[in-house]
Amino acid sequence: MNKDTFKNTKRIEASLKKRYARERRFRLYGQLAVLTGFVFLFILLFDIVSKGSPAFTQQYLKITVHFDADSLGLGASPSEEDIRQANFSGVIKASLRDMFPEVTGRSDKRQLYRLVSIGAEYDLRDRVLDDSSLLGERKDIWLLAHSEAAAYLKGQVSRDIPEAERKLKDIQMDWLDTLRDDGRTRGSFNTQFFQYGDSREPELAGIRAALQGSFFTLLVTFLLAFPIGVFAAVYLEEFAPRNRITDLIEININNLAAVPSIVFGLLGLAVFINFFELPRSAPLVGGIVLSLMTLPTIIITSRAAIQSVSPSIRQAALGVGASKLQTVFHHVLPVAMPGILTGSIIGMAQALGESAPLLMIGMVAFIMDVPGSVTDPSTVLPVQIYLWADSPERGFTEKTSAAIMVLMGFLILMNALAIYLRKRFEVK
């Protein structure tokens, strides 16, 4: 029509290119952000798995052991007590000397002894206790390798590192090479990792005690948090009058959900340990603290589940003469249960991964024995991870990663169960 319109169109067309370019850039930023998240997740998981998977194999050395009664310090017919006291470490040393007769120097000998784990002597002791006919025999036995030697056999230590900077010396590597060439080394699945408690020696350390401690702690947490959480949710959804107290409770629940977990630890220390004098380091206190911490999660998800139950179910029950309480417990809760369970499992998963409040109440002790009850001193899996991560030995790094893999495995299982429950009952 006129010149102005034409001019404007031109201008808009000229700017369009720029605007579209900007649109593409913005979109790219979004994609990059998502990608960044993925990359972080991948690096994290890859790092853990690559560090941790070697820990699931245990290295053994085949040593010809001479069960010489004299060097064991045993008489003709030794009692069980005698065998327990016997000098098995001397026998291992002698056997190693026999296998490498060329080793003479004192310090060389000491290096030689260091190929085999300290745990090997207990292994031999148990073998003799099982079968005393071994005494006097000469037998090839697979003995557990020391963690440094195992690291070399797994290819984690290279000769390129200057000798002064590594614990395993060249001469030890030579011996290990000889053993390997003779077919006297082997790796097998590390079952001890799941059978033993903590140890100062990386090759002997296991997560059994921590697993048991985690189990007891979660048991206490569940027994407290689940009923209390569900009851609280029922009260708030179905019975609570609109008044100040109800508002106070709701504000408190929302705030507790955001209180840092370590503050719950302070509460546990001041109230349960110092005031009520419950035992330190016990799963009982840990469970109580974690249940207070997970309560908000359980209450909030349970309320959502109860809310989503169709009002017609309530009305039907009330219509045939059920009381309010009967309506809730016989009709509303069973329908809401999958949702409640989903929320509770997620809360439990949170509790399983939590460690900060447990540090406060003393669950950081060095625990070798598997706890037998909720009042025994114990530790939990995440805290065990924390303790091992602090240890300087290389062997513990791989143990830490392996323990993390186990922990994450449990978490994935719990979350998968929660997702399954949600999917399964969502249809209704």
Partner: protein, 462 residues
Amino acid sequence: MQTSTVFLTLLALCAVSFFVARHRSRLVGMAGGGLTTLNSLPKHYGYMAALWAGLPALALFVAWLVLESTVLQRLVVVTLPAEIQAMPPSEQGLYYNQLVAYALGNVDASQVSEAQVQGARYYSELATASKQLKMLLVSAVAVLGGLLAVLRIRPDFRARNHVETIFTSILFICSFIAVLTTLGIVLSVLFEAIRFFQVIDISDFLFGLQWSPQMAIRADQVGASGSFGFVPLLAGTLLISFVAMVIAVPVGLMSAIYLSEYASRRFRAVTKPVLEILAGVPTVVYGFFAALTVAPFLRNLGESIGLSVASESALAAGLVMGIMIIPFVMSLSDDIISAVPDTMREASLGMGATMSETIRKVLLPAALPGIVGGILLAVSRAIGETMIVVMAAGLSAKLTINPLEAVTTITVQIVTLLVGDQEFDSPKTLAAFALGLVLFFVTLMLNIVALYVVRKYREQYE
């Protein structure tokens, strides 16, 4: 084990009361001309009796457990020689603990004095008596309660209403535990903090620039007076949180925008749960990752370009904390962006704006208050995060804004002060509670403001 025996006995008595009451209500009902003459079903009478038997006895039992050790200590201490009774409370406590340890057989006789052996004998007698009395009294109360309930069974007694009233109060108590927890946190932290401020001046704590909590164990030790200036800890905490937010906010916000506005439904359905795995990873795992992978990597990187990066740099801890918070920021912003009404989107697109223009000029300004609220929540989480900084941040308090240096945080100091055996009365231990108080209030304020902002924002579009 004693505890569980009493508990099981109590449960058994409840069960017995239930059956007796149910049976008796049937008899009463039949005598009055059939079960329909009863106000409630027989099982309601049973429940009533069980509650009457169980609740008072349980209360007594719990009270006994709580008070037992204190009362025993009082009773034993009175019999001890006069010079022991004149001791200050902490020494007396130590003396008494030794005595108890001997009585339980944990310490042999060579380590305790004659008076303690005497006291221990008395203690053992008292403890046994207490055990028996506890069992007896708890059972008696249970039986009495059950009996009272059984005797009250009449055809016109409204047992169901009675039971339901009791049960509703139990439900109320359960929900009131949240309030009690908050109260417990505030009181426990506050009390210890007040004791701390009696020793250390509160203005020294809040404005002091020096943090070195080494206290002299004996009065005659030199040079270890300890200083409790809180500013370097706050600075360190804020520095690490800032680094975390620099990572988490752009990545989380852009991911949320992309997933809610651009991505296809299927892509979103797969991507979101995968990214949320990051939120489910335990913090101790992040700590390990930060300390053993990220920190050495950053140090080597710094070395290769000629920068000196501390091996416990704030950057490493902050970076990993940022990764942890990404899904948190993402799902909060996602909720908030989705809450912006579609009409606004459509109006903008209808005017010819591109998608990115719509997002930047319409959606984000509209969603800004909500996003700010979400970020505040994320900051509060970063400030309270413990394990990552315990494992990857430093211990020495340094007042710096250089993220390449090692700094320490409030949570790290709480953990270092409280882990391990410590005397509970020393300012060093009490300082942890003062820090806890500050931490609690800072996060509480952030949460209250954030929740308020988010709620206001939601109301705007409802």
